[in-house]
C-alpha cells in the first residue's frame, strides 16, 4: 500500500518570489569604496555582519504599492467630498472639538512630512537592500499621510479659525517646537538611531497612544472625514510597525556590542516620545467634548500592558524596560491636568482655544482620577473660574522657562510629589541648562553638544528674533490672528458661529 501521494511541485512562497524579484539590488560598489558611498552607516557604533539576514517584512513591489495606495486615495477623497457636500462640520458634537484638530494639524501632520524626509534620507544610507526598500516605501506613505491629513482638515479651515497656516506655525509657534524638535532630533541622528526612534519607539511602542485617541476621538465626536483618513493611514501602519520590530531584532542579533547602544536609544526615545504625548493626554482629558477613555486608562492599556509583553520578549535579548518608565506611570494621574493648566495660562499665545472644564466634565475627571483630581486640580479650576467671573481671567504675563531637551514649559512636578515643580539642571562649558525631569537631563548630558543648539522659543523671543517684544508682534510673526485664533473659546468667533448654527438648527428642525 502506498500511503503517500506523489509530491507535487510546490508553489514559491511570497518571500521567495520577492527575493527573486529583488536579488542583486544590494551590490558592492566599484567606482567608489563602499564607506564613501554609505558614509553614515558605521559611525553610530552599530555593527552589521550580514545585511542579507534582514528579513524584508514588506514584500511589496512598487507597481503593487501604487495600485493599493491609489485605491485608498480614491476612497478617502470620496468620503472627504461627501463630507463637504453634506456639511459634515455641522454634525460634530461641539465646536470645541475642532481645537483637537488644530492641535493635530499644526503639531502632528507636519511630523508626517518630517517622517517622509527622514525615511527618504536613511533609505539612501543603508547598505542592505531590505531596509532601503522598506524605508523608501515608508517615505512615500508618510508623504501621503501628510497630504491626506491636510486635505481632510482643509474643510474645517473654511469655517473655523487657527487652521490656515499649519506648516508655518509648526516652524515658529512656541509649543509646536516640542514636536518639531523631537523629530529634528531623530532626523539629525544616524540611520540606526532614526529607525529606533521613529519606527520602533514611536511607531511601534507609542503609536497607539497617538493615533487611537485622535481617531477614536474623531469617531466619538462625529468627525467622519478624520476617521476615514485614520483608517487609510492605519492600513499602512502594519508595514511601519513591522519595520520597527525588524530593525531592533536585526541590530540585537547582528552583534552583542549593539545591545547597550540600542538600550540607550530605547531609553532616550521612550522618554522623548512620552514627553511629546503630554499634548495627547490633555487632548483626551480636556479637549474632546465626548471622551473616549482617560489618559491614565490609555497609558495602562497601551503602554503598561502591551509594553510588558514586548519588553518581556526583548529581555531575552538583554534589553530591559526603558529607563524612567516607572516615572511615566507615576505621572499618569496628573499629566493631562498639568499640561492643560499650562495652556490655560498661555492661551493668549496659542493657536487654539482653551476653556475650563464644565461641572459635568469635572465629575468625569474626578471619577477617572479619584486620587488626584479633587485634591489638586479641581480647587485650581475653581479659583480660575471665580477669577474669570470677576473679570480677572488669569493669564500668565511672563514667559515660561523651558526644558532644554523636550522644550515644554517647566510645569511638571516631582515624581513623588505632585505639589512641587520638578527642576533639574546641568552645567556644560560654563553655561547652566535646565530640565523638567531626570529623563530629559540624562538625554542632554549624554549629548550636550547636540542639545546646546536647541532653538528654544522663549529665549528666541527674548533675544528679539520672533517679530517683536509684544505678544501681538510675536503672534503676527506666527501668522496668528490676534483676538481670533487665540484666547478662550468662550467669546471666540468660533463659538459665535457655532452658536448661530445651533440656533438655526433649532429654528428649522428637519
Amino acid at each position: 500500500m502506498n500511503a503517500m501521494p506523489p509530491l507535487k511541485q510546490r508553489k514559491l512562497s511570497l518571500k521567495e518570489r520577492y527575493s527573486h524579484l529583488t536579488r542583486g539590488l544590494g551590490w558592492e560598489t566599484t567606482y567608489q569604496p563602499m564607506d564613501k558611498v554609505f558614509p553614515y552607516v558605521s559611525y553610530e557604533g552599530i555593527k552589521i555582519h550580514d545585511w542579507e539576514a534582514w528579513e524584508d517584512p514588506f514584500r511589496l513591489t512598487m507597481d503593487a504599492y501604487w495600485k493599493y495606495q491609489a485605491e485608498k486615495e480614491r476612497k478617502l477623497y470620496a468620503v472627504i467630498e461627501s463630507f463637504a457636500q453634506n456639511n459634515g462640520h455641522l454634525n460634530i458634537t461641539d465646536a470645541r472639538y475642532v481645537n483637537a484638530l488644530k492641535l493635530f494639524l499644526t503639531g502632528v501632520s507636519p511630523l508626517e512630512y518630517s517622517a517622509h524626509r527622514g525615511y527618504a534620507h536613511v533609505g539612501r544610507h543603508f547598505v542592505g537592500a531590505g531596509p532601503r526598500i522598506a524605508c523608501q516605501m515608508q517615505a512615500i506613505d508618510e508623504l501621503r499621510h501628510a497630504q491626506t491629513q491636510m486635505h481632510t482638515m482643509s474643510h474645517y479651515n473654511k469655517f473655523f479659525d487657527g487652521l490656515h497656516d499649519a506648516r508655518h506655525m509648526h516652524d515658529r509657534v512656541w509649543y509646536l517646537s516640542v514636536p518639531k524638535s523631537f523629530f529634528e532630533d531623530a532626523c539629525s541622528a544616524g540611520p540606526f538611531e532614526f529607525l529606533t526612534s521613529i519606527s520602533f519607539s514611536f511607531e511601534y511602542v507609542l503609536t497607539n497612544l497617538l493615533f487611537v485617541p485622535f481617531m477614536s476621538g474623531a469617531a466619538y465626536n462625529g468627525d467622519m472625514a478624520t476617521v476615514t483618513f485614520g483608517f487609510s493611514a492605519q492600513s499602512d501602519e502594519a508595514r511601519h510597525m513591522t519595520l520597527g520590530l525588524e530593525i531592533i531584532k536585526f541590530m540585537l542579533e547582528q552583534d552583542e556590542g549593539n545591545v547597550p547602544i540600542v538600550q540607550r536609544w530605547i531609553d532616550k526615545w521612550f522618554w522623548r516620545g512620552y514627553r511629546l504625548l503630554g499634548l495627547v493626554s490633555m487632548m483626551m482629558d480636556y479637549m474632546l467634548p465626548k471622551r473616549i477613555m482617560s489618559w491614565a486608562e490609555a497609558w495602562e492599556m497601551y503602554f503598561e500592558q502591551a509594553g510588558d509583553a514586548l519588553f518581556e520578549d526583548l529581555s531575552r535579548y538583554g534589553i530591559r524596560k526603558p529607563k524612567y518608565h516607572e516615572v511615566a506611570s507615576k505621572e499618569k494621574h496628573r499629566l493631562s491636568h498639568e499640561v492643560w493648566s499650562i495652556f490655560y495660562n498661555y492661551t493668549h499665545a496659542a493657536a487654539f482655544h482653551t476653556w475650563l472644564p464644565t461641572e459635568d466634565e469635572m465629575k468625569w475627571l474626578s471619577a477617572k482620577y479619584p486620587d488626584t483630581f479633587d485634591k489638586y486640580y479641581r480647587p485650581r479650576f475653581k479659583c480660575w473660574s471665580e477669577m474669570a467671573a470677576e473679570g480677572k481671567r488669569f493669564y500668565n504675563p511672563t514667559l515660561p522657562q523651558l526644558c532644554t531637551t523636550c522644550q515644554i514649559p517647566m510645569g511638571f512636578t516631582e515624581p513623588d510629589d505632585p505639589t512641587t515643580i520638578c527642576f533639574r539642571s546641568a552645567e556644560y562649558k560654563g553655561e547652566r541648562y535646565h530640565f523638567c525631569s531626570d529623563g530629559c537631563k540624562d538625554i542632554f548630558c549624554y549629548e550636550p553638544e547636540k542639545y546646546v543648539q536647541s532653538w528654544l522659543p522663549v529665549h528666541q523671543i527674548y533675544m528679539g528674533n520672533c517679530g517683536g517684544a509684544e505678544v501681538k508682534d510675536v503672534l503676527d510673526w506666527y501668522h496668528l490672528n490676534f483676538g481670533v485664533d487665540n484666547f478662550d473659546y468662550e467669546g471666540s468667533p468660533d463659538q459665535k458661529l457655532w452658536d448661530e448654527w445651533q440656533a438655526q438648527k433649532a429654528a428649522n428642525p428637519v
Binding site: 510546490r10 512562497s13 518571500k15 485605491e71 492605519q234 509583553a309 535579548y317
Partner: protein, 355 residues
C-alpha cells in the same frame, strides 16, 4: 454564516486544517500550529492577507482600506475575518520549511501492548497500530482520546520512525484526569483512539550545524525519537543531549543514552539533577538543566541548532540562555509540554510569535 465545518488547504505548506462554524481562517490556522503573520486581528491592518485559490469565503468585517476592491476581485481575503463557506484552498505568506514532510493525519484505533514504569511518575505505553502504516517525523506528537475524558490529549512519540510500535511517555499530572486514567486504569489489550502525526517540532535536516537537545522530565520523548533516528541514519555532526530531572529516581533511559554515547563518537549525553539526594551518590551535573548547558558550552551557542522539549519554565529559561549565547529564533525549536491546567499561556508580543 454557515454552521458547517469546512477543510482549508493551506498553500504553500500543503497542510489541511478544519475550520469550525463561525471560526475564522486565522484562528483555525493558529490553533493548528500554522503561524500566519497577523497583527490587529480585526480587519484593519492587512497583515494577514491571503489568496483564496479555490472555494468560497465570507470576507467578514475586512476594512475597505485594508482589503481593496481590486483585491477582492482577485480573490484576496483577510484571514482574521474570513470564514469559509465551502472547502477552500488558500495561499498564505508563509515561509516554507524545506524539512517539513507534511505527512497526512490519520485516525487509528490502536491496541495497548505494553505498559512499563520508566521513572517515579512516568510510564511508557506501547501501542500497536494494527498494521496501519503511520509515517511521522521524529519529534512529532499524537492526540489520544482517553476513555471518560473530554477532548484529546497530546503526547510526543518517543520511538524513532519505522518502528513497529508507537511509544509514549506519560507523566502523572497531579489531579490530571487523563494521566491518572492512563497510569491507574489502562491495561494491556485496551484500545485507544490515536490521531496524528501533529506538530512542527522535528530535526531540520537541511542544516548541517551541530545540535543541542535540551529535555526536561518526560520531555525526553521527542529527543529520544529524534536522536535514535539521527544516529541510525549515520549523521556525523555533533549531537549533545541534556536531560534535566530532579532526582536519580526521575532519570530514565540513562543506560540507553550512555550506551549510545559510547558507541557514537559524535553523541554526548549529559544528565542533570536539580535536587540530588545523598543516597543517589550522584557525581554528574547538578542544577537547572539550562545552567548545565551554559557550563558545557561556555555560554556560546552561535552556529548550533537547538531543540528544546519540556515544561514551559524550562523552555523559557533555555531560550534565554541560548539567546544570551547568541543563538536566535530561527535556530531554536521548541515543544512546550503544557498541561490542561496551563491553558492560559503568558501574553507574548509579535516579536516572539514565530518561536
Amino acid at each position: 454564516m454557515s454552521d458547517e465545518t469546512f477543510s482549508v488547504l493551506v498553500e504553500p505548506l500543503g497542510q489541511t486544517v478544519k475550520v469550525a462554524a463561525g471560526q475564522t481562517i486565522l484562528d483555525a490556522c493558529l490553533r493548528s500550529g500554522i503561524y500566519l503573520p497577523y497583527q490587529c486581528n480585526h480587519g484593519l491592518c492587512s497583515t494577514c492577507k491571503i489568496t483564496v485559490l479555490e472555494g468560497e469565503v465570507d470576507l467578514g468585517e475586512a476594512s475597505p482600506f485594508a482589503l481593496m476592491d481590486f483585491e477582492r476581485d482577485e480573490g484576496r481575503a483577510l484571514a482574521c475575518c474570513a470564514r469559509p463557506m465551502s472547502d477552500v484552498t488558500i495561499e498564505a505568506d508563509i515561509d516554507v520549511d524545506p524539512d517539513a514532510m507534511n505527512y497526512p493525519v490519520l485516525d487509528v484505533e490502536a491496541e495497548v501492548v505494553d505498559i512499563r514504569t520508566l521513572a517515579r511518575d512516568i510510564k511508557g505505553i506501547w501501542l500497536d497500530m494494527g498494521g496501519v502504516e503511520f509515517p511521522f517525523q521524529a519529534g512529532q506528537y499524537v492526540q489520544l482520546q482517553v476513555p471518560g475524558v473530554q477532548g484529546e490529549r497530546a503526547f510526543s512519540l518517543a520511538n524513532p520512525p519505522g518502528s513497529r510500535l508507537l511509544e509514549l511517555h506519560i507523566r502523572l499530572v497531579p489531579g490530571g484526569q487523563a494521566t491518572t486514567y492512563l497510569h491507574q486504569s489502562l491495561k494491556a489489550g485496551d484500545k485507544l483512539r490515536v490521531s496524528g502525526p501533529y506538530g512542527r517540532f522535528y530535526v531540520r535536516e537541511s542544516s548541517s550545524l551541530p545540535m543541542i537537545f535540551i529535555a526536561g522530565g518526560s520531555g525526553l520523548s521527542s529527543p529520544k525519537s529524534m536522536i535514535e533516528d539521527l544516529l541510525a541514519k549515520g549523521v556525523t555532526q555533533q549531537i549533545t543531549l541534556f536531560h534535566g530531572v530532579r532526582q536519580r529516581q526521575d532519570l530514565y533511559y540513562d543506560d540507553l543514552f550512555r550506551m549510545l554515547a559510547e558507541k557514537h563518537g559524535n553523541f554526548t549525553y549529559v544528565p542533570v539533577l536539580s535536587d540530588p539526594q545523598p543516597e543517589d551518590g550522584w557525581t554528574g551535573e547538578t542544577g537547572f538543566v539550562h545552567e548545565a548547558v551554559v557550563r558545557h558550552f561556555d555560554g556560546v551557542f552561535r552556529g548550533h541548532k537547538a531543540y528544546l522539549c519540556g515544561p514551559p519554565p524550562m523552555i523559557d529559561a533555555g531560550i534565554r540562555a541560548l539567546m544570551k549565547g547568541r543563538l536566535f529564533d530561527r535556530d531554536i525549536h521548541t515543544e512546550s509540554f503544557l498541561t490542561k491546567a496551563d491553558d492560559k499561556a503568558p501574553q507574548r508580543s509579535p516579536l516572539s510569535q514565530r518561536m
